[in-house]
């Protein structure tokens, strides 16, 4: 029996080693001695080892989960801080997703960043990201989870601002980091409250501790259950990391980074860390009452509103970013109605087709010589056929064409929402249906405008006088590989995932079992589910969206143009992202900066520095100036003081 502990350590550490080697010796930090070919070998081997061992671990823990306590790195008072791994079905699935998408992105980067001067630095960063994400999903205690959480936020900051000479990139990465910081603050509060009542950071101890479930604390004369409070704070952390409203505004701006990281971080892995964390603590969230319906409502609001914003964007990557936001809203909806397996399944399928879409967008951007505005593209199916077909596969999977993978995950979410009865479930159900329509609308708009519409046929790059060409094989290869799971994984894995009992130790069976059992009663098999889509509303909404987008963008072009004229206020609202960015910049950030300025200029400079530090020096100086006037230099003054003081002292002596 091979030692799973050392295999898990190798999985985690191999991307870290490749990242350190590339970072120290490839970027010029210690030396710039690694050429681009060697860098490829080091980086790909690092992640390939992780991927192969992840497959092995996945099949080993399929029926039994393992706990490994690796190392206690500190002991404070009687609190042990450990590094450990808890590998169960959820963790191993996430490990597979992370390593596979990371491997695809590594291969893609060889072609995409070929001419960039920061080539080795980029590989170092994405390997480092893989390390942090693996630590996050494999951890068995909250401190390690938080370490991975912060780490992925940090590497996301580094990667969004990869081209650090662009001011928009610097603005975007600061925004991403600060908004994630807000979420991390809530997450820390949640961890602290849980620790106070459980006295341990380990997952098993937390979930099995009754003290946590029955304690209440007193805040302002009202008793609040500790469980609900800590789940609230944990959800704030998930809201920032998984970009739900209101902490979502960093994700569209994070498209300033290179396309491979958009595929890796902002589609498949980092933004799913919040979802993963909530499912990991589903035992706590199940008992938190109204918080679950709050989660579902936030998810549905995100899904709906971000989808609507996606229709009006003109940058390829931003449309796909808003699509990611919308799909994350779907995952939160699934969590909110206690259908955790379905949320993880949607996470799985979404990782594949969204990474595929982002990488195709990157291929288009390369082919168009770094042009990202879709109004300047068109007719690319002639020039980039492979990209066109893979993009079409990704799009069809996203909108939920029957038998493709996105269909199975999205439709089961909508079914679960229909069956649930949490507070507000009607709103959630209808917004998810409208979300299907809108998803189809923006996806087909994107596909038609980029690949087919030939109104703007200026694909001749006037600078180089070249036609857009298909990208090189190393860029196409990940697209081809990723389209296979996008097509087939839903069909084959939906039944074992949702209705097998792999999740029985992870997810408790309270409300969750009602939904899953009701779904199981109606389930026959995948083929039946797919072919019966014709009888369900979402399928026809998707067809309606396709028809509308055909009408607007192929046949009649005047309606989108006139939208700005006929609905100016609505247009302004949507163009300013519902004024979330305005609130963040003008109200929140500006006032916090003003408070900081107040503390700096008035309290620190004037009061503490001026009054206490400099003021005491000034008083002493003033005093000494006064005293030094006594020393006049004239001898007769000195003799006067001498005799006068002798006379006074003698007087006192005689009197006493």
């Amino acid at each position: 029996m091979v030692n799973l502990s050392s295999i898990c350590s190798i999985i985690v550490l191999s991307p870290l080693f490749s990242s350190i080697i590339l970072g120290l010796f490839g970027t010029g930090f210690l030396s710039k001695s690694i050429s681009k070919e060697n860098c490829n070998v080091i980086a790909i081997s690092g992640i390939l080892i992780s991927f192969i061992f992840s497959i092995f671990v996945f099949f080993s823990v399929l029926n039994n989960s393992i706990q490994i306590d690796l190392y206690t790195w500190n002991t404070i008072d009687n609190c042990d801080l450990q590094i450990g791994f808890m590998i169960d079905f959820l963790s191993s699935t996430m490990m597979l997703i992370v390593t596979f998408v990371s491997l695809m992105v590594h291969v893609y980067t060889i072609g995409y960043m070929h001419d960039d001067s920061g080539y080795q630095r980029f590989f170092s960063y994405i390997s480092l990201f893989t390390f942090f994400m693996l630590i996050l999903v494999m951890s068995n205690n909250m401190v390690q989870l938080f370490f991975g959480w912060e780490g992925v936020g940090l590497v996301s900051y580094l990667l969004i601002g990869f081209w650090y000479n662009k001011p928009t990139a610097v603005y975007a990465n600061l925004k991403a980091f600060l908004i994630n910081r807000v979420g991390d603050f809530g997450f820390l509060l949640g961890i602290s409250i849980i620790y106070i009542f459980v006295n341990s950071f380990n997952y098993i101890d937390i979930i099995k501790n009754e003290n946590l479930y029955i304690s209440k604390i007193l805040i302002f004369d009202s008793e609040i259950s500790v469980l609900k409070l800590s789940c609230c704070f944990l959800f704030i952390g998930a809201m920032a990391k998984s970009a739900q409203i209101p902490l979502h505004s960093w994700l569209p701006d994070s498209m300033e980074g290179p396309t491979p990281i958009s595929a890796l971080i902002h589609a498949a892995t980092m933004v799913t860390a919040g979802i993963f964390m909530i499912v990991r603590f589903s035992s706590l969230f199940e008992l938190s009452g109204y918080l679950l319906s709050f989660i579902a409502i936030i998810g549905s609001l995100t899904a709906l509103s971000m989808g609507i914003l996606g229709i009006l964007q003109n940058d390829i990557k931003r449309i796909i970013a808003y699509s990611t936001l919308s799909q994350l809203g779907y995952m939160m909806m699934a969590i909110g109605v206690s259908a955790y397996q379905i949320a993880i399944f949607h996470l799985l399928t979404h990782a594949f087709f969204k990474a595929l879409l982002f990488l195709c967008a990157g291929s288009v951007i390369i082919g168009m010589h770094h042009e990202q505005d879709i109004r300047k593209m068109g007719n690319l199916y002639k020039y980039m056929p492979v990209t066109c077909i893979t993009f079409l596969i990704g799009t069809l999977s996203l909108v939920g064409v029957p038998f493709l993978s996105g269909f199975y995950s999205k439709e089961t979410i909508i079914e679960a929402v229909k069956l649930s009865s949490v507070y507000g479930s009607n709103f959630i159900y209808y917004s998810s249906l409208i979300g299907v329509l809108i998803t189809s609308l923006y996806s087909f708009r994107l596909y038609i405008l980029v690949f087919h519409k030939n109104k703007f046929s200026m694909i001749l790059d006037k600078k180089n006088n070249q036609v857009a060409t298909e990208s090189s094989f190393i860029i196409i290869l990940p697209l081809l590989i990723l389209s296979i799971p996008s097509l087939f994984i839903g069909f084959f894995l939906v039944e074992p995932f949702l209705f097998g009992d792999y999740f029985k130790e992870i997810v408790p069976c309270l409300n969750n079992c009602e939904i899953i059992n009701s779904l199981k009663l109606e389930w026959v098999n995948s083929i039946y589910f797919g072919s019966h889509a014709l009888y369900t509303i979402p399928f026809w909404l998707m067809i309606l969206g396709f028809v509308i987008s055909l009408y607007l963008y192929v046949f009649d072009f005047y309606i989108p143009v006139n939208f700005k004229v006929n609905f100016p206020n609505l247009n302004k609202l949507l163009n300013n992202n519902y004024y979330f960015d305005w609130v963040n910049e003008r109200i929140i950030a500006r006032n916090i900066i003003n408070v900081g300025n107040f503390f700096y200029k008035i309290i620190d400079k004037i009061f503490i520095d001026g009054f206490f530090v400099n003021g005491s020096a000034k008083i002493i100086r003033y005093f000494s100036i006064c005293l030094s006037k006594i020393q006049s230099g004239y001898v007769y003054h000195y003799s006067f003081f001498m005799t006068a003081s002798i006379a006074i002292m003698l007087t006192f002596l005689i009197i006493n």
């Binding site: 020393q631 230099g633 007769y636 005799t643």
Partner: protein
């Protein structure tokens, strides 16, 4: 004439000398003379006590004091002459170099 009167004389002389030192601002020679007057008052004091107590120690001590006074005056006058050579005046206006 009791002892008290002689002591009063001595005190008055001392006061005159003291005021000459303190209130004098225009004449260095007057300063030296005032110092002499102070020493003289101390002498008078000692002689008065010696006469009253019929003890010769006081009068012998006066000799010592007068010797010291003479030596001191010699040095003082020498310094005065040097000062006059450098400053061309004998009042105190410029003698505050140690001010501060």
């Amino acid at each position: 004439m009791t002892l008290f009167h002689y002591l009063v004389v001595s005190l008055l002389l001392f006061m005159i000398g003291m005021f000459g030192v303190i209130l004098n601002r225009r004449n260095l020679l007057v300063l030296l003379m005032s110092i002499e007057i102070i020493l003289l008052s101390v002498n008078t004091n000692l002689i008065a006590f010696s006469s009253y107590k019929n003890d010769l120690t006081g009068q012998i001590f006066v000799f010592f004091i007068m010797t010291v006074a003479a030596a001191e005056m010699a040095i003082g006058l020498a310094m005065l002459i040097l000062l006059f050579r450098n400053l061309d005046q004998i009042n105190f206006d410029k003698l505050n170099n140690l001010k501060g």
